[in-house]
Assembly symmetry: C2
Homo-oligomer: 707 residues x 2
């Protein structure tokens, strides 16, 4: 057994983080060095790059103002209000700095993603002329830049904050910074991308019958920009946030169980660093045969990462004498995560009955597409929910024999749950790589179409794109489930924060607990629970109404352009639509709608805290998870089912393109778009933000509440 200290493991984590960042830089250089020569797609690629950067800049300006206001509030209030007896201004400064640091790193993750994605899309399109292998590698390595950069910076950030500040509460502040930015970035990007996507499809494909990505369509560039700002930047910020939140929750529990210098904190860092290392290995070893199957290549590198992680953590546990039971909890998370991924695939894969049934039902009209897809979406929640429930129960039962921290409410069972979430997210570097691969090859497909590369090349990019969709469905199930487990441990973190605060305020004596449980039969807890149920519903409704309104505006604009620009519809040489106008509509709409939805979630949390105090918040977080998981799974999966049902029909089944089934399936896909790409995945972040706000404001709720 080798003895290590917190300092040593933190240095190791920082080293691995830099390794990942270095690897990202190498991959970036590699992608950039790939040949590109076609002037037409260089021009269009430039349009996309400029559109994405403009949106990002305007979005970050809005968010910078929000961050500034939040930073002032945090400085005044957290961890203790400046006017309180036990206030320590240094602590408040550190908290504020941690918060800002979190927002900056999260924004950076998005920016890096856009940077590489808008290069890799061009390179991947060009490479497709040479075959599937080079095109796949370009797309995949482009995505991996994002994966390595996001996980590298998140691990680096947490290690630095904990080293400098030295308490776990500041990590919560850092995590809140990351989450609040992710919340708005995800919502804004999600509204942008679906506004453009729906409008482009509706007028282009449905009304005029012109192909997808046809350069005559005024919304076509906006659509491609959307892939980048929604799926790349938004998703990056989102997974940055999930990763940080799961580490933060584990660190709070670990600290409560034995202090900053204790073995548990060491273990959290060791496991996180090993997870990143495994992802590096998985990415570095990813290969595809000359005519290989891209889905298989993506999945097999995921499995490599998983296996490497299991082996390396076991090795670390053996070497450093960590508890095997906690390793077991991590393994449970990893296994359950994989099983959830596979079952999600069942409901969204077009080789399986659900998608085919939805396609068949579409023959009777769009109402049947919606009803059957929605129903399968509801059914699809079951395996993931069982998985989450079981892994929480098993992780707890495996670890609880390790005992309870003396004089504290913290216990190893709860820590086990947070480590199980960490296990599920351990391979997040790999997940992000796969996720970012999707929009890159989607864009490459568009560029190949617009550049006139011909049928054969487009077919290659189509295959790459379709693999991206399949893998995306799997990783989404994975990340929603991990968020569910993280939030349970954040509930533990919240209780721990409340009790610490109650001791500091002298409300209870040292060694006592202010809150020992959140009893459902306590009407204050129940009150919070029922309100918590409503929040994800309101939040997603607001986002979808945003897309709905925005898309109606953009559809009107596309009609205007086709009606007033002579020769556009006919594709006359030299006639170009006004792409920028569409990008501008999507941008302004997204910026207008992104703040209110997120703010409602945050303000509702504060309101519940003031009405019912810490107990009500316990219930509120529970209700929020319950309804959030349900809605997130339902929306993501039914959206995926509709998308693939459309593709299944387009592949010539149930009447093929142009049939009633096809028209119905397009309606399903249009409904599914904001379900799966705007509302569904944003709920994830909403749950995390609300949990973090609660933990941070625990002290305030303790002092001021009506009931």
């Amino acid at each position: 057994m080798v003895n290590i200290t917190t300092q040593m493991v933190q240095v190791f984590a920082i080293f691995v983080a830099f390794l990942a960042l270095g690897f990202a830089a190498w991959l970036y250089a590699w992608v950039k060095s790939q040949p590109s020569s076609n002037a037409r797609i260089a021009e269009i690629g430039e349009y996309i790059r400029r559109g994405a950067n403009t949106f990002l800049k305007r979005e970050y300006l809005v968010l910078a103002r929000f961050t500034a206001v939040a930073a002032v509030l945090i400085f005044v209030l957290l961890p203790h209000p400046l006017w309180a007896e036990n206030a320590d201004i240094t602590k408040n400064i550190w908290m504020t700095v941690s918060y800002i640091f979190g927002t900056v790193l999260s924004a950076l993750a998005g920016k890096i993603g856009i940077q590489i994605a808008t290069i890799a899309n061009i390179k991947s399109a060009e490479a497709a002329q040479k075959g599937i292998k080079p095109s796949f590698m370009t797309g995949f390595r482009g995505g991996a830049v994002m994966g390595m950069a996001v996980v590298g910076t998140s691990l680096l950030g947490i290690a630095v904050v904990l080293m400098l500040v030295g308490d776990a509460t500041s990590v919560l502040g850092f995590s809140f910074g990351a989450s609040s930015l992710a919340l708005f970035a995800k919502a804004g990007g999600g509204i942008f991308t679906k506004t453009a996507d729906i409008s482009a499809d509706l007028v282009g494909k449905v009304e005029l019958g012109i192909p997808e990505d046809d350069p005559r369509n005024p919304a076509v560039i906006a659509d491609n920009v959307g892939d980048n700002v929604g799926d790349v930047a938004g998703m990056g910020a989102d997974l940055f946030d999930s990763n940080v939140a799961s580490m933060a929750a584990a660190l709070v529990m670990a600290t409560a169980l034995g202090g900053i210098a204790g073995k548990n904190v060491i273990m959290v860092f060791a496991y996180a660093a090993v997870g990143l290392l495994s992802s590096i290995i998985g990415v570095a070893t990813a290969r595809i045969g000359k005519n290989g199957d891209p889905s298989k290549a993506l999945n097999s590198s995921t499995y490599v990462t998983t296996a490497v992680y299991a082996v390396l953590t076991a090795l670390a546990t053996f070497l450093f004498g960590f508890e095997w039971r906690i390793w077991g909890a991590t393994a449970v998370g990893l296994i359950v995560g994989t099983v959830i991924g596979i079952t999600s695939d069942y409901f969204t894969n077009d080789n399986k009955p659900p998608v085919q049934e939805v396609a068949k039902a579409s023959k009777s009209g769009p109402a049947f597409t919606i009803l059957s897809g929605f129903s399968y979406g509801l059914l699809s929640c079951l395996p993931a929910l069982i998985g989450i429930a079981l892994s929480a129960l098993l992780a707890f039962k495996i670890c609880s024999p390790l005992g309870v921290a003396i004089g504290q409410e913290a216990e190893y069972g709860m820590f086990g749950i947070s480590m199980s979430a960490l296990g599920m997210l351990s391979i997040v570097g790999m997940i992000i790589s796969n996720d970012a691969y999707g929009p890159i090859v989607d864009n490459a497909r568009g560029l190949a179409e617009m550049g006139g590369f011909g049928e054969k090349v487009i077919a290659i990019t189509d295959e790459l794109d379709s693999a991206g969709n399949t893998v995306k469905a799997v990783t989404k199930g994975f990340s929603i489930s991990a968020a569910g487990l993280t939030v349970i441990s954040l509930l533990g973190a919240f209780m721990s924060e409340v009790n610490t605060a109650a001791r500091e305020l002298g409300i209870i004596a040292a060694g006592e607990s202010f809150i020992k449980n959140f009893d459902i039969m306590d009407p204050t807890v129940f009150f919070g629970l029922i309100i918590g149920v409503a929040i994800p519903a309101i939040f997603s409704a607001m986002l979808m109404l945003g897309v709905d309104k925005n898309a109606q505006r953009m559809v009107a604009e596309i009609h205007r352009q086709f009606d007033t620009i002579p020769g556009l519809k006919e594709g006359k040489e030299g006639v170009k639509p006004d792409y920028d106008k569409c990008i501008d509509i999507a941008t302004s709409g997204a910026l207008k709608e992104l703040i209110p939805a997120g703010l409602v979630a945050i303000l509702a949390t504060i309101a519940v805290g003031f009405i019912g105090g810490a107990r009500a918040i316990g219930g509120y977080l529970t209700g929020n998870i319950a309804s959030g998981l349900l809605l997130a799974l339902l929306m993501s999966n039914s959206g995926g089912t509709w998308d693939n049902a459309k593709k299944y029909v387009e592949a010539g089944n149930c009447g093929g393109k142009g049939s009633t089934a096809h028209k119905s399936a397009v309606v399903g896909d249009t409904v599914g778009d904001p379900f799966k790409d705007t509302a569904g995945p944003s709920i994830n972040t909403q749950i995390t933000v609300v949990s973090l706000v609660s933990s941070l404001l625990a002290v305030i709720f303790l002092q001021l509440s009506i009931f």
Copy 2:
């Protein structure tokens, strides 16, 4: 102050119940004595009556077999397994008898409803020739027969069971009988009615452009039968169940707080009897002017009932020296129920923005109808959830100063919540009357159309029908919320059953509690909670897929008839479609699909109980309420919004009939049909059944469970 005993109040309750039944008989005779002369509608009316009775008979045969199996299981297992040491065969016999009694009375409620509804529809159609007033009164009094009969029998049943058996657990058995029948009746009727409705509209209105209720349509009779078996019989069984469950929960708590002879039991009966009395007064005084507004007439009789109830319960409280605090809790339920009704109306009324926005969005295509209607449905959950949360919190806080039963876990706060639910349901007689009025006048409209009564008469029945839809939306919000509150008190009842059982089994000493709370942080509770979240989703998905599949079969059959019966499409004299074939498809389909969905919910409960024991069940019930309330409100309200958006467009807005907006709105309405009439309202019953199963099996879960 007047002293009364439990016997006295039970006799009073039985007296009021008979009063209600006598009033129902008088109303029935009145409706029957109304003139009818038209041979054509008598013939069609006879078709409908026969179809409805045939379905009911076949459905009851299936349910009788289920009931027989369940009765044997109950006899062997409940309240104690026959092989257990403390088993008492007499108790098991009483439990079985109570259960069977519950199923029989519930079935009877459905049968009575069909009986009157299939007469009142003809009479109301005929009366419409003389004006709105006689037609309204016929429809309303027809509905009131159902209202009086249902509430009368439920009060009678509970009073008799408690008098004969003398313990509250048997009341749970009675309630389970009512609920399990309601679960299947509601599901079966819901699948039948929407199969027929969707198919008739899709082929008739959408494809062929023939009017609604056109006698050429082979599914037209099935559609009218559906109104009766789904909305009348199913709804009757459902509200019979809600009413019984809320009383059962209150009685279990009341008994725990002071025994069968205690003042609390007296109060429950007194309030329930007064509620029925108020409904009798409300129905008896209902009036409409010669050209009056039927919605106003319906709502004003609801308000009369509410006011009379508030005054009479206050009087009873004063006279018999009940606790004013408990009266307060009841009043909270009553007020919140009214507020929830009004806010539900906002989201489904075509004079208000949500419906109009959905209609406007429909101009861009069906996907936008679905997206916006679904989003408003999500938003509409907020007021009802806040209402439920607040009334639980307030009722508890008002009553908890009354204290805790000595040596018991029962407390007045929890009893307050159950009384608040009782308050919300106090006017259930009135609610059922209004609810049953809807399908009666809907049928009358169909008969007027088929009988060729001309535009003017159809316009009158249209107005009556539309009032029925508006009122229905309000009463649905009311009954879902009441079910939410009831289930909280059933959670209390469950805990009380577990502790009583633990004492009887000698697991704990007298005066101790086996379970003091359901702690969310306990992973067993959390495990149950997450599984509980999944159940309403699975349940409603199964029902909707049932409708979906069934409707596809029926659409094929309608096409077949139009294609193969010469002269049918053209409406040639003497050519009739084969109505019976369509009725048969709807019947067989409904009977095939109604058992599995309900059984899944019951079996999942048992599985969770065996895995995690009583604690897991506590979480499970909570998760079930959380997701059940969300889905029920979402589905009922978005369905209502779509329905009225279609009507709004048909009234000439957004392009009117035949426009793009209209076609899109029809898609929305078709999706909304099974949402609001099959899945949404069935979830209610599912929640109650699962709670009752848990309470009844508490003893078994206590002895056998893995974790």
